[in-house]
Point group: C2
Chain length 346, copies 2
């Protein structure tokens, strides 16, 4: 099984997701700026995986700090954290992981600098290992929603490649598959970055889960033909009212699902829930370079001299979401109350 | 101005739409089998343009027939027509144009074979010229539906490149623009063949109509943000009840438009209306090669060994269509009665 992001001898090793599925290349990052660039350039992507990579970036940055005392360390570590936080604006796990690392530094200020550094390395590894554990729990919770022989539509890649391993939306599908439910998957190719065609199709095939690739604009037709039983997607950030930010196109799929009376499920760890965000209107939507739209595989497809937009995410209102699947349980509307109950759980 | 399909010294000259927008290449077809292959391979595409090309294919085929009398000519001509009719199943204009050519042959059976051939050449040229005239009338009829400063979303290319010239959906936009309405266009890129990115963006830019390119899955987000005032698309075939077959993805856009209370208009010549078709369920949907989905610009994007679907069209039910724009007038529901009134007009 491939490794998405791994701590190895004080470096961070990541599979270069831009080259999949035709090439399986692992890059080694030895300084935090390299990790930040890898996040920005989408060597690694997917909200939980970004969180893990950022935590490892913090740890690598911490190892390189020269400081006499905690105050000096803390100032330098804040710079490392700020740099990593400036990479991508939408996924809340990035900020969540960085805040967790900062909190651990603060909580262990009594340690020697050398021991503090080791404590931060341990925390980054824990974030990695926790993520896999969380995904497996989420998978088991979500699998109960899927019936035998169902065909599930998914958008983008919320799979092992979007996390430390196992996946969120694809984790639910994996768990259903492991439970003998014989589920099949339709994967939207997910323009412009083609995470569905390149990543979801690849990792499901590796796992022998039947997958059919379609272009994004075919989903409605497949639903009309009765070929889709449910939609399961991941999320980069959920507002406290249950509004869901996820890969561009998710909102459209949610509308199509509702029109065809197909359940629309969102799978995300509780670290993706942003209780400080009242609703989805406040979630920043990253606008990426237009070249991702005008060029494919390095080749120009569109004429020069036209306008192009490239928002990387959209927001699906809570009212279109049938249930939100987390590692602590499945929540249905009203989501704010449901989230509060989750966080009250140990 | 580029020519889409043109009769030139007993040959058919077509711009190779597969190479746009990076290359502007004109191919010359000297026999009907070449024309048929060009239709099948999408050198020419768009329902009305396919009709014109097929008519010219019939004329070229007719010129090459060696026959002593009309009976012999008629049998050989039927073979030419059948071959051309076997190219693409969805667009009804293909069959409409071929039937018109057959009808003219039958109606002129009294002529010498040489004169009959010239009569068929004239008919093919008339179909070409009529198409432009029809598009301009349709444009004027449809432009009345669009308000000043509106931004129009369109899907695929129902433009000059889809017709003999001027366009159906883009004809409506051109007419609104010519009437000083200051309209802007959002173009869905339209996977897998990228007619929006390659063709619509190109021809609107050539005409100085402001165009913004988006991927198909961004349309819902743009509607949510209030950036789209109306949708105008073309059609390959309309059933008598107003169900509309058009490029894959159109049905999804119609659902999104209805969800956001945005009017969804369809522009098509009356030759696109198939009164023999009770509803859209009977319209054959062409399934094209999966390579169009798995490869872009000759480069493999998806892994090998997965399932892929590639339906080229979908059917939008009449209830999602706010109005159908034809050269004989604008029709609203109930469409069957409206179509009958259109056909009663001279």
């Amino acid at each position: 099984m491939f490794k998405v992001v791994e701590w190895k001898k004080n470096t961070c090793v990541m599979i270069d997701q831009r080259l999949l599925p035709t090439k399986e290349v692992y890059n080694t990052y030895k300084d935090y700026k390299g990790v930040a660039k890898a996040i920005k350039d989408m060597v690694v992507r997917g909200a939980p995986a970004i969180g893990v990579a950022a935590a490892m970036g913090c740890a690598i940055g911490a190892l390189d700090i020269k400081a006499k005392d905690f105050d000096e360390f803390s100032k330098k570590f804040a710079k490392v954290c700020d740099h990593l936080a400036g990479t991508r604006p939408t996924a809340v796990n990035l900020f969540w992981a960085i805040e967790r690392m900062k909190g651990v530094a603060e909580a262990n200020k009594g340690l020697t600098i050398a021991k503090l550094k080791q404590r931060l390395v341990k925390e980054a590894k824990d974030i990695h290992d926790d993520d896999i554990e969380i995904n497996k729990k989420m998978g088991r919770n979500g699998a109960k929603l899927l019936k035998k022989d169902w065909t599930i539509l998914t958008h983008c890649n919320a799979g092992a490649l979007a996390t430390a391993g196992y996946g969120t939306a694809l984790g639910v599908i994996r768990a259903a598959s492991e439970a003998g439910k014989n589920v099949k998957v339709f994967a939207d190719e997910t323009r412009p970055f083609l995470q569905g065609a390149r990543l979801t199709a690849w990792e499901l095939k590796e796992d022998n889960i039947p997958v059919t690739l379609i272009t994004d604009n075919m989903a409605a037709h497949m639903m009309q033909k009765g070929m889709i039983d449910a939609v399961v997607v991941g999320t980069d950030r959920m507002a406290s009212n249950g509004d869901v930010a996820n890969k561009i196109g998710t909102y459209g799929v949610a509308i199509l699902a509702r029109y065809h009376k197909i359940p629309f499920y969102v799978a995300g760890p509780t670290s993706t829930i942003d209780m400080d965000m009242k609703d989805g209107s406040g979630i920043p939507i990253e606008e990426r370079k237009t070249r991702e739209v005008t060029h494919i595989g390095g080749k120009r497809m569109a004429p020069e001299g036209i306008d192009v937009l490239n928002p990387a995410f959209d927001v699906t209102p809570a009212k279109l979401v049938n249930a939100i699947i987390t590692e602590k349980g499945v929540v249905t509307a009203p989501y704010k109350a449901g989230f509060k109950k989750l966080f009250a759980k140990k």
